[in-house]
Amino acid sequence: MNPKVKDNRPALPPPESGVTVRMYNPGFGDCFLLAFRAEDGSPRYMLIDCGVHHQYHDGEDRQDRMKRIAADIAAATGKHLHIVAITHEHTDHLYGFKYAREIFDDIQIDNLWLAWTENSADPVAKQLKKLYGRSVAALNLAIARINPMNRALAARLQGVLDFEMPSFKGEETAELKYLRGKCLHKLQSSDDYRHPGEVLNIPGVKGVKVYVLGPPKDTALIKKLNEKAELYPELAAMDELEAFSMALMDMPEEDTRFAQSRPFARYFEITGEQAAGNHAFSDFFRQYYGFKKDAGHGPEWRRTDADWLAPAEQLALKINSYTNNTSLVIAIEITTAPSYKVLLFAADAQVGNWLSWQELEFPGEGPEGKSITGAELLQRTVFYKVGHHGSHNATLRSKGLEMMSNSGLVAMIPVDEKWAKEAQGWEHPAKNLLDCLEKKTGRRIIRTDEIPPGNKPPVKPDEADADDWRSFINRLDWDRDATEAGQSLWIQYTV
């Protein structure tokens, strides 16, 4: 659909009831536009994330693609987004606001939804950011040390780190700053941030409730930061790697942690220069360890200059997992129809986040004023935005997918399997997850790398029931203007 820039009438009409979810195709990244109908018939739009992986490439330049998407968002919403929800600060959820900044400049944004972990005034959030910042700093140092000795590993680590929008001090990214400045209702107090247990409305819309499921907040977390926090196991691990991190950062002697960073008293230490020079034991060190390639020096292949840097891998993964696990997770409940359907947007939440939803209670929200739990919301899920591009550890099995028992379940996966495998060597989506999803959804899986070309609808799989499939297709729509394969901009489904 050609964006008619001058005509400000929104090009994406809201459904009569329920919600239309338009999944954009930035290549490898999340960008979801939701359209609701307000009581007076006017549309309300919510954008959940807008990003693309910073290394993504295919035929079309990813920045150009992002600009086209932003232009489509502008046209679709008549340049008015009522809510923008950013789940977490990873490039594939945020870079849209970098690549298509000028287009977003023209779009009015009323509300910004961010998780409580983004509130710099929250003491727990502050502690988390501090630990995170230290780890990122350490990882940067590790990469610098590893690079001369093992370029391939350093590159891989950098790739993982780049997912994060790197900031040495754990400061905010430019994109988030931009959104904070742009939105009409500024985030001033802690109530302006999203906490698990909250129930929200879309302004003007009746029959829709938004439950905030995550990221989990343990109010005793501050005291427990040094112990194994089950909800954030990455934290404990990052703490474990503290000694490793400290070794990377040259600590000044006055720092109280200096003592921790050296295993023995000073008078035991023989520096590298001393060992290679005229020390009493220089001969010994030269003969066995060696400092050069020359004869008389210990063989190079037996030296251990870089081996101790290997935990950098773990550190990188933990940093990444930590950010994923602090994803803002929402469940949207449609209460107009009797069966109270739920749409689950799980961002990239991993195990700890998922587990915390089970017991989460929303008092008074259930039928007859009873309270309902996160577990019940899972059971009524009819639409699931698959976490983390279908990686296996972002979809919990027994306390997650297995609980989604609705027979009409539909899944959306923003992924480019080919690029993930060839450019990165990743298995996204994971095969066994895909198998499970196919069974659970009766093959009603919508993927950005499988948007049907032109006007032909997706082929009905043999096992699927004809009526079920037809009703599924009827609720589906996609960008039919794509001139080349893989260039389709969006695909949408109406719940």
Binding site: N150, R156, G159, V160, N226, P233, A237, D239, E240, L241, E242, A243, F244, A247, A259, S261, P263, F264, F268, E269, I270, T271, G272, Q274, A275, A280, F281, F284, F285, Y288, Y289, G298, W301, R302, T304, D307, W308, A310, P311, E313, Q314, A316, L317, K318, Q350, V351, S391, H392, N393, A394, T395, L396, L401, G425, W426, E427, A430, N432, L433, C436
Partner: protein
């Protein structure tokens, strides 16, 4: 003429005494037993012990890269040090660390050598020069007591070195320690013994690192745990204390399990070994042994967890044998009732029991180590190891008065460990087949092994006093000689009997020369064991292997094998071969333990193992599946090959699933 001197010529001492910690000093603070943590170990006197310490087997080089400093090497021949049985145990003195790590490694090597009746060699250094692979003898294992700054320790097959880490206590689960207090893995007897065993096993069976099936890495871990665990139990002083703590409840004998628990805490398995052996009952707060579940092994693939099942089996066998052995003591002490009076045990009884436990532990250790000579050279699995255990023991101890073999079989059976190729779990079925059971096989072998005189030329001089480099050189020669014998066309029957494939009509994935598959005589070594009645069993152990190119795509494999496709660079190496145990006196082949290189089934299973990723861990997703990376390291040359072979399989194993989130 020498000056007249009245000095008496003093004999060389038989031992050098060195002090060290029995337990990880962190652990010892949690036990109520500070006084027994110091142990004195006696090592055979080495005349040529240099500062480091550096001797014929080891070179301790104390470089701490994270701190960017070296620590001075200790001279154990310093007379003050000699006079005190070594430096006093002190966590704050790096020289003591060097002393301790040296003592424990040498002790572990000692047990190994005694069990096998020959000196141990380290695995040779693999060098690739312009595409050709060469192996270089490695005299000394390198030891870095302070190499890493993490809760880890590992053997590096690439560097032929042991790397030990240190880390602040708050990161481990030691609640009673001062936060930030450093824990040194080089001060943990169990960890040092465990890593040394990896190195020793690698020296004996270089191919037991190749992850061709789900048991391989698990076995490496299990074996290292077994040696460390049972070596620990040979310290009677340590056992004495544990046994004395009982208040009459001998029937249960959970104390040894408790000790094993502590062992599991120190060792790198981070819980896998602990829970495989048993756990603390939350209500009674007592340790209870784990109830074996034969289904567990079917779903356990992670190497530590899987290996822990094997260790638990061996441990159960040990407990059963020990209980059997102390039955008579129990009867005497309880006057026949089996129930002892309340209160402390009589110290003599404690002493006797400790000795029995220690003796039994020593036996188990020997049995497990000797089994290594009865294993196939490649693609080892738990079932084959069990068969090796039983056969090796049956060879040495014909009658089995304490039913050692039954104890092993029972324990393995209860955990679902069955060899795939036997009819039932009786001792007879588990023994390796003898060539006599097959028509004409012995006769075929006779084409190569003719008489004792001919064989004696092959047997390298491998006494416990021989120079190890000399041993290595001699084995290289023997290997060449044997290669000539087996590839001689006149000996084709013998090759066939050994399942060596030398025909031209073979799948094209074979590595061949002039159309004939190449043969590697992997190892030639003597095995000499003395049994409990003083009987001596002697064998010549010969290992031979061949290889084929393996591909992840079944189609490509088929096309290459049929000759339709010229072999591209392989994804993995598929190996087969045999271990022959030959009686040097009669020149008869007593056993031929083989892995068939022509087995398409086994090739398929290997391919499936390497390509079916159950649930790739997050680490594997971003940094590559370590099993496949391992094979890249040996199939690919150049930069990528170097980077791949720099992946440390044991470092990965010891770091792996800790804190891994389990998703789908």
């Amino acid at each position: 003429m020498a000056a007249k001197s009245n000095s008496v010529r003093v004999q060389r001492p038989p031992y050098r005494r060195l002090r060290h910690f029995a337990f990880d000093p962190m652990l010892s603070r949690r036990l109520d037993s500070y006084d027994i943590n110091e142990v004195v170990t006696k090592l055979p006197w080495e005349e040529n012990l240099l500062p480091g310490p550096v001797d014929a087997y080891l070179e301790v080089v104390d470089f701490d890269p994270a701190s960017r400093v070296f620590y001075a090497p200790v001279d154990l021949n310093d007379r003050y040090i000699l006079a005190q049985d070594g430096l006093a145990p002190a966590e704050s003195n790096p020289q003591f660390h060097q002393q301790m790590v040296y003592a424990i490694i040498r002790t572990t090597i000692g047990h190994f050598e005694k069990a096998l009746g020959r000196k141990s060699l380290w695995s040779p250094h693999r060098m690739v020069n312009n595409g050709t692979v060469k192996f270089e003898f490695i005299e000394r294992l390198r030891v870095y007591p302070h190499a890493l700054r993490e809760a880890n320790a590992y053997y590096s097959p690439d560097k032929k070195a042991l790397l030990f880490g240190y880390f602040p206590a708050s990161a481990a689960e030691c609640g009673e320690n001062m936060p930030g207090e450093l824990v040194f893995t080089c001060l943990s007897h169990d960890i040092v013994a465990h890593e040394t065993t990896h190195a020793l096993l690698d020296g004996l069976h270089r191919r037991f690192i190749e992850p061709s099936n789900v048991d391989v890495w698990a076995l490496h871990e299990a074996f290292a745990d077994i040696v460390a665990l049972f070596q620990h139990f040979t310290y009677a002083e340590v056992l004495r204390r544990q046994i004395a703590r009982t208040h009459g409840d001998l029937q249960k004998q959970n104390l040894l399990g408790e000790l094993a628990q502590q062992f599991g805490q120190a060792i790198g398995s981070y819980g896998a070994l602990r829970s495989a052996l048993g756990s603390i009952d939350p209500e009674t707060k007592e340790w209870v042994p784990e109830k074996p579940d034969p289904a567990k092994i079917l779903s356990t693939t992670e190497p530590h967890a899987r290996g822990a099942i094997l260790v638990a089996a061996v441990f159960e066998a040990f407990l059963a044998i020990y209980k059997e052995r102390i039955k008579s003591l129990l009867r005497i002490a309880s006057g026949g009732t089996g129930i002892l009076p309340e209160g402390e045990l009589h110290p003599d009884l404690v002493e006797k029991m400790a000795q029995e436990a220690s003796k039994t532990a020593g036996h188990i250790l020997n049995i497990c180590i000797r089994a290594l000579d009865y294993c196939p050279p490649v693609d080892i699995n738990f079932g084959a190891y069990l068969r090796a255990l039983i056969t090796a023991d049956a060879d040495l101890v014909a009658d089995d008065p304490h039913n050692y073999r039954l104890a092993f079989i029972e324990a393995f059976r209860r955990r679902g460990i069955y060899p795939g190729d036997v009819r039932n779990m009786s001792v007879e079925s588990l023994l390796w087949d003898k060539p006599e059971q097959f028509d004409g096989m012995q006769g075929a072998f006779h084409k190569v092994f003719r008489n004792a005189a001919q064989l004696s030329k092959l047997v390298p001089e491998w006494e416990l006093s021989t120079d190890r480099r000399k041993i290595y050189d001699q084995t290289q020669n023997s290997q060449k000689t044997l290669h000539g014998w087996f590839t001689d066309p006149a000996a084709l029957d013998a090759a066939n009997a050994a399942r060596i494939v030398l025909s031209r009509d073979v799948p094209r994935s074979f590595y061949s020369k002039s159309g004939v598959p190449t043969l590697e005589v992997h190892s030639v070594r003597p095995a000499r064991r003395i049994g409990p009645q003083g009987q001596a069993v002697s064998d010549l152990v010969i290992e031979m292997t061949q290889r084929r190119r393996g591909y992840y795509s079944a189609q490509i494999q088929a096309d290459v094998d049929s000759g339709k496709l010229d072999p591209p660079e392989p994804d993995f190496i598929f190996r087969g071969g045999c271990t022959l145990l030959v009686d040097p006196d009669t020149a008869q082949v007593r056993y031929c333990v083989y892995k068939n290189i022509m087995s398409e089934d086994r090739l398929k299973r290997t391919r499936e193992f390497l390509t079916e990723s159950d649930s790739p861990s997050l680490r594997a997703t971003y940094f590559g599946d370590p099993r496949r990376v391992y094979y890249r390291g040996i199939t690919v040359t150049g930069e990528e090959g170097k980077a791949a072979s720099a992946m440390e399989p044991f470092a990965f194993l010891h770091r792996s699933s800790e804190g891994e989130e389990v998703g789908l």
